[in-house]
Symmetry: C2
DNA sequence: CGTCCGTTTGAGCTTAATCAACGGACGTGG
DNA sequence: CCACGTCCGTTGATTAAGCTCAAACGGACG
């Protein structure tokens, strides 16, 4: 089939991926088992002593040399970047079980990481990580799955942000965070503690804090989500998912 | 150091990563060796018969079942996605040597791929790929590096797009494509053949084709880049790089 | 009690999307 | 060979979205 990229190629009814009901943001796959009990206990057994990071503290700084990767055990961590023209932005949030800074190719951190709310993490040196991957195939698999999941999330976020619209961007972020925080698809009335500020939501969506405020007021007024005093309430998950533009409903062209 | 995410935390003079002068978009690492002669010959030896994909044809379609990953040998390929609300966008471009659709977790393509200009690709089944990774550590390493590189590119694109501004988005894309196309940092006067349309640039930057046109006219008038009849001319690489917001110059806080 | 910080709201402005039209390149069919 | 249609690039006019500036409010905390 010839698909001319330049014309009416869009909207061919493709309804892409579905989502695993366990592990938040992955899709179609048999659930990368990121938070699998086995994976976590493996990890716990092998971990370096855990470290507490108070809210607002940097877990590590962009550009600083480092030979460690971190696994979040408790709390939220923002993966941040300062661009060369001085803008500051949040690339993604890491929740408990997520791995941060696990690329091996560089001895210098490409991004920074800041604790959002109090957090506890454990870390491996890269050499130890390499040994663990060799010795424990399950650890290696978990690690690869985590990396792949981050790529998928990044592309999903990219899609969310390229498709212009503040409401969609914010909805996508909140929906993703709710799902990952709950470890399941949100139901009406679900609440989660989210140690976020609207400023951080803005940094993660490429919006101004003031515009985030307006957007979230509209979302609140239309009874989709409410976010007050660090507590996120999902009133209408279906609407939120629709707005987020990553719907799992709908007919796939290929089942 | 306590970094309150909410206030003046920005512009701390962090000048993050540098770039390898060989392999385009990676950074600080000792050059992922994506196009390394060894990697490529390994690949050629092991490859399935190559396949020609005429311009505009789909290499594979989003949502279609597939157990193959593809390596671009010639031409450019756009990795595309149709969102659930019908928007069509280009997540990234794959150039010769790049690998596409190499996640193993799903039997269904998360994205589509369309040849931009004529392309030649070769493909592996996932099982063969797994075997190759076990048998040839260098193949495995190349593969991992490619995946990591894609993640870095995706995050860089994300940063480029989140930092509002059409000029910056277009500059970033052109700069990245020029670098990857040339396999080195662009010099003044460099030209590369880019089988792109402005429509595709729009799809990859989240902008309208008309606004891409205006933006590129401004870039042309300010003698930064020209793009005419599928030929991209870099007049002022430094300015382009500055606009792209991924400068390698500048002092890093940590050398 | 005062300060700091995050949120909210308003007013004006900038940017980019939208709508519309035109010209050129190219291919197709008469 | 020419007429026509299509697609791409370009430009103008208008509209909508989001940013900037500014002010006020409220809670947390010293």
């Amino acid at each position: 089939m010839n698909v001319s990229l330049g014309q009416d190629f869009a909207r061919r009814g493709v309804q892409p991926w579905t989502r695993c009901d366990h592990c938040a943001i992955r899709l179609h796959a048999p659930c990368g088992a990121i938070q699998d009990a086995i994976g976590m206990s493996d990890l716990e057994r092998a971990r370096a002593p855990s470290r507490h990071v108070p809210a607002g503290d940097a877990l590590f700084e962009q550009g600083a040399p480092s030979d460690r990767s971190f696994t979040i055990l408790r709390g939220w961590v923002a993966v941040t970047q300062v661009t060369s023209d001085g803008r500051f932005l949040i690339l993604r949030f890491a929740l408990p079980g997520d791995v941060v800074a696990f690329e091996r190719r560089s001895s210098v951190n490409r991004c920074g990481a800041v604790a959002v709310g109090d957090a506890t993490v454990c870390s491996f040196t890269r050499s130890r990580q390499g040994r663990l991957e060799l010795e424990h195939p399950s650890f290696d698999a978990r690690h690869r799955a985590a990396e792949g999941g981050i790529l998928e999330d990044a592309e999903e976020t990219l899609a969310s942000i390229m498709g212009r619209g503040a409401r969609e961007r914010v909805s996508h972020l909140l929906f993703q965070l709710a799902w990952r925080g709950l470890r399941r698809r949100p139901s009406p009335g679900d609440e989660i503690d989210a140690p976020l500020s609207q400023i951080q939501i803005g940094l993660a969506t490429g919006l101004t804090a003031v515009h985030v405020s307006r957007t979230m007021r509209r979302l609140r007024e239309s009874r989709v989500v409410a976010f007050e005093s660090h507590r996120l309430t999902i009133h209408d998950p279906a609407a939120l998912e629709r707005l987020a533009g990553v719907s799992t409903e709908g007919t796939a062209l290929w089942s």
